[in-house]
Amino acid sequence: MEAARTEPTGSSSIRTIAIVIGVVVVGLIALLAFGGGDQITERNGTLGKRVPLVQGMPLEGLAGTSVNSDGEPIAYSIDAENGSWVLVNFFATWCAGCIVEHPELVALEGWGQSNNLSLVAVVFDDADTAAIQKFFRDRGGNWPVLRSPGSAIDFQISLIPESFLVAPSGLVVEHYVGGLSAADVQATIDEFST
C-alpha cells in the first residue's frame, strides 16, 4: 500500500518508500538468517528438559528384568536410574529400521556396562508380545522392555526407531531418529563426561 501514496513530489517519495521497504526487507532477511539460533536442528519438545516418567512392568520372558527376593518381577521406573546415563529406545517388531538398529543397541549395552549407561526399550504400537520375545531371542539384547502407552505422547514420537539419551542429572540431552549408531552415543557421553 505504501507505494500508492500520493505526494506532491512523486519520484522522491517513491525513493523514500523504496528505502523504507528496503530496510524492512533487510531486517527480515537478518531475522531469518540469525534469528532463533538452533532452528535448523529438529526440535523435540523433551530436549533439554527433565525426562518424562517412564515406568511399567517389563515384559515377561525377557532378560534384563529385576526380580525381588520372592522371585517376582519389579516394575521398572526411570527415576531409579538417576545418577546414570539412560538410553530410552522406542521400537516395534514391524519396523524395518528397528531391525537394522538393533545390533547397535546390543553393542551399546555391552559398552554401557563399564560406562554407567543402561538401556530401556518402550514398545510402540505393537500388540504382539510373542513376536517381541522372539525378536529379542533372535537378535540378542538384555534390557527391560516396557509397555508404557503414555510415553509415546510424552516423548512426541512420530518416526520409530527413536531414542533419547538421558544424562545422569535426569535431563534429556540428545534425540536420535531413524536409527542411531553406538559410536555417536558414546561420543556424546564422552563429551559430557570430560
Binding site: L28, I29, L32, A96, L159
Partner: protein
Amino acid sequence: MLSAFGTAFVLLGLMASIAGMLIGSVALVRDQRSPNGSATLKPAMKSMRQFASMVPAAGIGAFIVMEIALFRRDYSVSFVQQVGSDSIPPIFNFAALWSALEGSLILWALTLGLYIAAVLWKFADKKNDPLLGWAMVVLLGISTFFFGLLALPANPFQRVSVAADFVGRGPNPLLQDHVLVAFHPPMLYLGYVGFAVPFAFAIAALITGRLGEGWLVETRRWTVIAWGFLTFGIVLGAWWSYEVLGWGGYWAWDPVENASLLPWLTGTAFLHSVMVQERRGMLRVWNLSLVCATFCLTILGTFLTRSGVIDSVHAFADGAVGPWLLTFFAIVTVGSVGLIGWRGDRLRSPGAIDSPLSREASFLANNVLFGAMAFVVLLGTVFPLFAEAFDGSRLTIGRPYFDSLGRPIAIVTLFLMAVAPVLPWRKASTELLSTRLFWPAVAAVGVTAFAVLVGARGFWPVMTFALSGFAGGSAVRQVVLATRRQGWRGFVGRTNGGMIVHLGVIILAMGVAASESYKTDRIFTMSPGETVFVESHSFTYEGLGADRTSRRDRTFARVSIDGGQVYEPARTRYTQQGMVVGTPSVKPGITEDLYLVLDDIPQDDPQAPIRLRVIVRPLITWIWAGGVLMGIGTLLAVVPGNRSPSIPTAQPAGDGAASGSSPDRSRSALSRAFTSLRRRLTRTPTELHASQGGL
C-alpha cells in the same frame, strides 16, 4: 552410469544459463551505453537464445534420467536411495521425484526450462528487442540459481555406494497412497515458477526504462496462466490434505500452506490492479511492486519451507540449501526494491481517480484487502521467529488468529465482488448502481432465505451466504449480458472468464463457511455390531480387518453407513519408515460429506471396542467444485476475447474483451484520449497538476 548422465544434464543447464546470462547482459549493457546501439547486439542475442534453448533440454534430460533411475531402482543414485522403493506402485514411484527436496528442485528446474522455451517461442518475432533480452537474462539468472542448487548443495545425482541387500524406504508414507500426490505439486510449481516470467519482464522494463504499458500487456496472460495453476494447485493440495491426513480438515494455516497463499494473494491483487494501469495508466509503481513481490514471495515461501527455519508438517527440512535460498531471496528482493527506487522518477503516473464509485476505486479497495490479507498471513507465519529473537518467547500462531482477521477481510471482499463488476470506469451514479445491483440484491435475499429455511444460523456463515448470493447474482448478470450480446464469446476473454472465476470463488466461499460452521465431530467407543447415530445417519461397526503388504500393515474397521455400503477407515503401519498413519474413509456428497477416522484400535483382542471418529461436514465438496470452476474460468480468461480489427486502438493489444458494444468502444477511445490529455497536463509544472502525480 545414470548418476553421471544426470549430473551432466545439471551441469549443462548450469553452464548454459551462466553463459547465456553473461553474453546477454554484457551485450545489452554495451548496447544501452552506446548512443546508436551496439552492432554486436544481434549476434550476442542469437548466441544467448541458443544457450537459453539448452536450459529446457537440460531440465527435461535431468527429469527423465531421474525417472529412469527411480523406475530401475538404481540405488547408486543418492536421491533414489533416499526415496526409492521396490514395492510402491508405479504412479507413486513416478511422483516420488517430488517427494523430497532435491527431486523437487529438478521439477522446479524443468518447469523453469519449459517456461523459458515458451518465452523463446512466443516472442520469436521480437528476438532482438533489448527488453526481451533483459527478460531472458533475468530468467537465465533464476535458472542459474536453481541448477546451481542442483549442482552443489542439493545434488540428487550423487553416486553412492549401495549394500547388496539394500531395500529403499520409499517416500514419506503420506505421499504413497493418494493419486492427488501426482498432480498437486506439479500444478503448484507451474504456478510458482510461472510468476518468474512477469517478474523477468518487470525487471527488464525497469532496467531498460521502457515503462510504458507494453510489457504489461505482453505478460498479463502469462500471469493469468501462472495464477490459474497456483490456484488449482492450492485447491488440489487442500483436497489431498482432506483425503489423506485424517483430521477432517483441508487447511491448517500451516507455514507451507501460507507460503503458497502469499504469492496467490499478491498475484490476485496484481491481476485486478493491472487493469487500472491498462485502462487509465495509473498505479504503475504499485503494479511493478506487486509483480516483484509475488515472485519474491515464492522464493521466500521456498526458503521458509525448505530450510527448516519454520517447522511444518510437510516441510522438507534440509539445512544445506537454506543459506542459498536466503541469499537468493535477498538478491531478488533488494534488487527489485532498488530498481523501483532508481526508476521511480519514470514511473510517475498520469491520471487520477475521480470517484469512489468507480471501477478503478473498487480495484484499489480490492488491493487494500488483498494486501492486508497478505500482510496478515506473512506476519502470522514469521512472527513466532521474531518473538523468539526479540525476547525468547515461544508463540504459536494458528487458526483462531488467521480466522479472526481473515473472516472480516473475506466478507468485505465478497461485498466488493458484488459491487465492483457492475461499476463503470471513472464514475457511477447511484441510480445506475440501484438499477444494476437490484437483481443481485434479490438473489442475496433468495439465497439467505433458503439458507435460513434449511437451518443455517450464526452471523458469519449467514452473512457469507447473503454476500455470496449478492456477488453471485452480480457475476451471473455480467455473464448473461455478455452472452446475450456476444453469443458463446460471452464466456471467453478476460472479463467474462473472470466472472466465471468469481463464481468459483463464491461457491468455494459458501463451501468454506458451511463446512467450518456446521461441522459435527463425534468420537465413539464401539464394539462390533454396535450402531451409533450422527445427524440422522447410522454407523454400524461390523468388525476389524487387516491386510499386509511388504511396505505396510493395514488394520481397518468395517463401518456400514445407513445400513448400506461399507467404509474402511484404517490405521496403517509403514514398516520401512516406522510410522503409523491414520487413513480416513470418506463418503462424499453434494450436501454433506461423512468422514470416518479410526482413532484407536484394540491392541490384543479383535472383539474389543474401537474408537471411531465421525465428522459430518456440509458442502465441503463445493470447495473442490469451486476450485475446478476457478480453473475453468482461468482457461476461459486466457482465450482471446472478442476483438474487432476495425477499431483503432492506441495500445498494441487493446482491451478487447471489455469492448462489447459501440458506445463502449467510443468511450474507451475517449477514456484513452483523456489519459493522454492528463499525461500531457502532468508535464506542465503547475501546482494543481503536480499534486496528481505519484499514484
